[in-house]
Subunit: 216 residues, 6 copies
């Protein structure tokens, strides 16, 4: 089974889906990550790319695609171009399960990736597709204007009790993105969210998603 | 795998989940139906119960439970009583998958069944539970006040192309509940909805649900 | 009475409002269609324009305006330009009734047309305006992220039992846009939706809309 | 044309629909008001009923029906009974246009009347029905928990510039229900709301409604 | 300053507002707690009441009011009675700040308390009132049907880094209500939620609320 | 205490926050206004800027910042640029209280300012920040598509009975933006809204806001 994770920025895929990626891998699934944007300059780009690859190795990601689009810039490039970049990845991977960022996140790049993903994932072009999930991203999802449409309303839970350690290790690879608690992008906050989501389904650790579309 | 369908009134389970019930059965799952209310008088009760059993036989339902609670009366009996009736069924079946009516339907009995189902299905009491889906009921779901919370927003599709015929046959068993098109509770309307939902995922026939909670 | 239909792409006006356009015409109203975008190259443009004009002739549209803006490009041209293009049409037609696409559709062009229409239709500039309705577009409305704001919640029904045939004939004119069922942009899906919407108000065929604003 | 206004309590119909009632009357429509509840004791009941009849005479209401159900009690009587009381009125009047309270109002009686009205107004039983509108009630609509579903979102405007005086006179008949500004149930607040709603459509005075369902 | 916390069941006030209660007390405010329901039998009642009083002593609550209404029974007693019970408390305390449960919680008693609180807290009767907040309750708020109206959308944060210990100690007093992690009503889950909410505003621990109404 | 008001266009800050600005000033707070866009040509720019400064003098604004970005153009400049312009102002003022336009307003510039404000106001960069409020703007807020996310749902009230006169005087300074009633941007409509919002909390005049985030 092919699984595809769209990340607006390097580290979003770990924050939102890290434990579930490792779980997919442990089940023998092929997990692909597509990073939409990259660093603002050459040096940062090289660094973040290396961090991403280390994190993905930790999680067992099969292949990482870097679209190298501009950070805080997805709303400023032609929509067709963004759509095409993402569509090409989808056509290449033919995923059965896809994880996308939450369209209600504060960062406009998240909204853009979520919207273009939907175009790429049209049922007519993806007969193999079984499920699309939106994930939450600490420091983006909870910082937006709290409206009916922006709010993240979890209805899918993934037990990651066996892979929370890998998630935290993967996050440690993102040295340039990690802060000390009480910053939300910190190991302690990640663990707190994971325990909270876990407690909802009475397991030690979980990641939560909003279902966008699924076939049963 | 045990599957449980809660129906406020006899026929809701066919309108909302008929094709998917037959599909579960064809996959070897045990499907149980719990009818919350029954007829208004003895004669009608006997008749509708017989219709229900015929319909369920057609679909392959393993066992039907009749709670015999009063029609248009679920809001008027003590909440504890309704909760307990439904909880007892859940504890008996230990379902992995549950279908409940949409809380935003026009008929108050639908709302009551949906709310009490959630109490009965608390994660802490149901470690085996994998998914809860809300189904749509022609002539109830589309006739309520169209508010943000009442609206049925499908995000789960079940391909019933192979079982639409059984669904229609099962509905024919409910002679007392079936009307001629263009009444929404008619074979033609059922088929139209089924084709529309099918077209969304590019199959001939489908039933749609709103995901309430799932574990992946 | 002047009626104006804004279509992001050629064929949206038939999918969403085809039967109601023919009904307006049969009542002696003047119906104008404004197509915001056109084909991607000269050849396609000529073809789709010819298809549109045929479809509109079938429905009795009085005049069609082609803005010739770029497909999947409305978010990338200056907002002022889009606003002005649509405002000019509104000022020319002085419509009493306007149909716009649903802002929650998957295609960004639909959102852009809906938003710019609202600017053009400000009450202060349109004392003659009686109603604005948003229509649904098969293969766009049901494929977007299913959020509180994206979901199409019909509260207006137009009985098109007498004009469904014209709607289907008009759709057949759009050969380049029409697919075989179970694609949602197929004659069968159009008919299924039309029967479903009809059944809600107990007529054979209907088109549904979301009311944006009306004066009674 | 027959018009029916459901009021949970005497005076709601004036607060929410007073100007529009007088406008209907001036257009030759027959307006009926159904008061769901009555005074808490005999004396108050006689008084409020007399106030209601005076107010309705002022507006030109053709006939007033008093259901005499208990105030703050509609959630405590059997749902079937409430449904039947309202259904009987609907069957008697066969209205083309109906005004109901907003289901999101603070007072539970408003919610109950709105819900039971929907049952009584099922399309299948009301082929003559053209529109259902929900009205706002000062001191109820704006005092509830401000949630996505409770909020009153106007999309229908009725110009009452010619009948605002009658509305205010009718309200003066309800001496027992009228307070001094800045209480929201005061003449000044009524006028402020009326001017605000008017300004949205650029007229001097208006009443606003939420469309529940209409046929065009 | 007088602060009033309405709890449907003993322990809700600690789960939702425990740290903020202790903070209010440390600022010299008078905090009152009103417990709407009590134990199902005499023995449990005595026990839970004793637990509540111990917890409240730990937090510094000035006085606790027990309404002794039936558990899972608030929807079954006359609405007027519930309204009056709560109104009497409000009139006695004349609170400036009030905390109520979230109306979207799974437990119907929570909804009932929230609704009746709004009636008791009408601005016209409470000129002293400055703010009403809804709090979240682990094992209720996250277990309901995840709809637009049910979802808890925090927009108020209270830094409880200095009082989290008191909150946890108070919760320990509720032996009969406390479970081991990963149950959501456990010390670990409480702490995880507190850290997550804290991280949103970059402090170690916080409680979150939804603003219902405030005067600034 | 430093207070910052973001206005997409000159006069929005008076329409939405005028009375509350004057109240802040009367309490000794420093109020800063940041105007995002300016006039379309040199002459208009000079005029509107002079009007703004007069209005602000009337209200007691300490300093006004003009970003001079293009009107109806905020969606067309690079997002990073808009973010940076607003971030620089926030870093300069270090506000404790911020007022932003409502993201659901009809004018796209309002949405853009609201979204970029959230980025600038991230908790991690603003430890001093206590509250963010969204204000309503007559002729923008009520003219947008009335969806769940666009609707303005007030939950904060500011009594401006003592400063309504200053608000009206300030608005008179904006001669180029002021119309005669019944235009919504007129003195009469402003007063009507102010009385309506006042009546909700039983005072003569008020401004209402939607809370975005607050720390208590």
């Amino acid at each position: 089974m092919n699984v595809l994770v769209f990340a607006p920025h390097n580290d979003d895929e770990v924050l939102g889906v890290g434990g579930t990626i490792a779980k997919h891998v442990s089940l023998g699934h092929n997990v692909y990550v597509c990073e939409a944007t990259s660093g603002r300059d050459k040096e940062r780009l090289a660094n973040i790319r290396s961090e991403a690859l280390n994190a993905h190795r930790m999680l067992g990601v099969k292949e990482t695609f870097f679209l190298d689009l501009p950070v805080v810039g997805l709303a400023d490039i032609p929509r067709k171009e963004l759509n095409k970049s993402m569509y090409d990845i989808v056509m290449k991977i033919k995923p059965e399960v896809v994880y996308i960022p939450h369209k209600g996140d504060m960062h406009i790049d998240h909204t853009m990736v979520a919207e273009s993903a939907m175009v790429a994932l049209r049922p007519v072009n993806n007969p193999q597709l079984k499920a699309i999930y939106a994930y939450e991203t600490l420091s983006e999802t909870e910082w937006n204007i709290p409206s009916a449409d922006n709010v993240f309303v979890p209805n899918v839970w993934s037990d990651i009790s066996d892979t929370i350690d890998k998630k935290l290790e993967a996050m440690k690879c993102y040295k340039s993105q990690l802060y000390d608690f009480p910053h939300p992008r910190s190991l302690d906050a990640i663990e707190a969210l994971s325990k909270l989501r876990g407690s909802t389904i009475c397991v030690a650790n979980a990641e939560s998603f909003m279902l966008i579309r699924s076939l049963i």
